[in-house]
């Protein structure tokens, strides 16, 4: 079987949807964060597939930047989650409810 662009895109869309579902349904801040990383990596896959399709390195370069940004996000995010844990001894976001409209 020849693996075409569409196969990659379907996989990317699936991974992205799993990430979105994870963010919406899970309650552990770290799992939510990992789900967001999954979304980012789905995007990376789509970018690389499109770059191959167009024969253009622009998409691959974009992937490098997304990886760098995701790493920076993790650094900031985990620090915030650590502070959260020090305050409440939990990372369950249902317990994070001081601010309400």
């Amino acid at each position: 079987m020849i693996i075409s662009l569409n196969h990659y895109l379907v996989l990317a869309a699936l991974l992205f949807s799993i990430g979105v579902a994870g963010v919406l349904t899970r309650r552990n801040a770290i799992i939510i964060f990992a789900s967001i990383e999954l979304m980012m990596n789905a995007v990376n896959l789509a970018f690389v597939a499109f770059a191959r399709h167009w024969g253009d390195v622009g998409g691959q370069i974009f992937v490098f930047f997304i990886i760098a940004v995701a790493a920076a996000e993790v650094a900031v995010g985990l620090a915030i989650i650590v502070v959260l844990f020090r305050h409440r001894e939990t990372v369950n976001i249902d317990k994070v409810n001081l601010l309400k409209w």
């Binding site: 990430g19 995007v43 622009g58």
Partner: protein
Amino acid sequence: MDLSRFNLITIATPLVLGAGVLLVMLVDLLSGRANRRPAQLAALAVVLAAAAVCLATWNTGGVSFFGQVSGDGFASFFNLIFLAVAFLVILAGPAYLERNAIHFGEYYSLVLVSVMGMAFMAAGTNLLVIFLGLETMSLALYVLAGFNPARQSSNEASLKYLLLGSFATGFLVFGIALVYGQIGSTDLARFSAYLAGAGDPFAGYMGAGVALLLIGLTFKMAVVPFHFWSPDVYDGAPTVVSAFMSAAPKAAAFAAALRIFYAPAESLGLPWERILWILAALTMTVGNLSALNQASIKRMLAYSSVAHAGYLLLGILAGNELGAAGILFYLASYVFMNVGAFTVAWMVNRRGEGRYDLGDFAQLGFRRPLLAAMMSVFMLGLIGIPPLAGFFGKLYVFTAAVQAGYVWLVVIAVLNSAVSVFYYLRVMVIMYMRENEALKDVDRIPATFAAVAACALMVILLGLIPGSVLDVARAAVASMP
């Protein structure tokens, strides 16, 4: 190597800011933990230097770095807005930070990093640069929102902002990936050329790509239904940071939206117009109605800023030159009103960080007449009472929308403005008519007072010379490639 392709003039302002961040961190390190004054002064100097560079290179850059950035008047205009906000919050900040025992030098460098990201958002002519600018801005803001680690609500605000913000970023980059898949480039000139030539703005991956891009951007603007984070984050974050966050990032998000959607506005097609129409109507209505019964001034201002995002969407929807220039003028006046109002809010707060009650303003008109008068200027400006700047911002944006044929949407917007009179005027009623609740007097802080006075002066000044500022804004919009 052809160096003319790397015209540093195009990114002169963010370059100065980037160097300034390093300088401020170094100064803070050398001056020791006890004294944050040198870091503040260095940050003020950096902002002034960046503003001078911005004025000196106004609209001289042109497109450079292989079409990645454009140092046109549009970027310069927005840079000046961002720098003004940064200057005000750096000038006003120390008193607040001292009061809460969180006076760390990182405050200044984080504000500058964030402004550097915004400058790249306004200058980017490639989705890659806009994405990187947005992330630079956001990462600094996540940290700033949690700048008071001892307070749980500050931590909670930064966690909510971080999780929802990076969630939205995921949608934004997926949208960029789909747009790239359709046209084989992330260049905005190619994007608008494609839309102009394609006929069907939903062909292939384009429809989904633009939809996801819109989700990512409208999240940063706090447009309904992606606004839920903003009242919580503005409420929980330290108030100097809320002042900064409600003003500059919103301007930056609109700058990016104009960069992406202004040129191809004509060719986006009816379905997108309808969606934007609904988003604009929902945003101003939900924002205003939610602001009506807020007891906390911070939450009230947060919902009011949601409503203002709705008014600003009219300018994007209009898609004409007046609409875009109107947005520039609107944002230039809006940032001063919001920074001023948030700053007065923490100046008069006497109940501690946890409670920002409207009752704090009781009798302010008699206790501190000048401060109350300036707060009234901000409130009247946010309503849009002539001859203040807020009136002309609304006038230009609404006129542009009428010219583009969105009469009913403008009717909704005007009705919404009428609703907003209630909660803005309530602050003034409390300041001048409510009985004194035996509150302690408001501290006299010269630097903060000067920042508030500067905001009030700008709101009045922009209302006195709206025509000439609008001409500058028009030239800025016309200079976009």
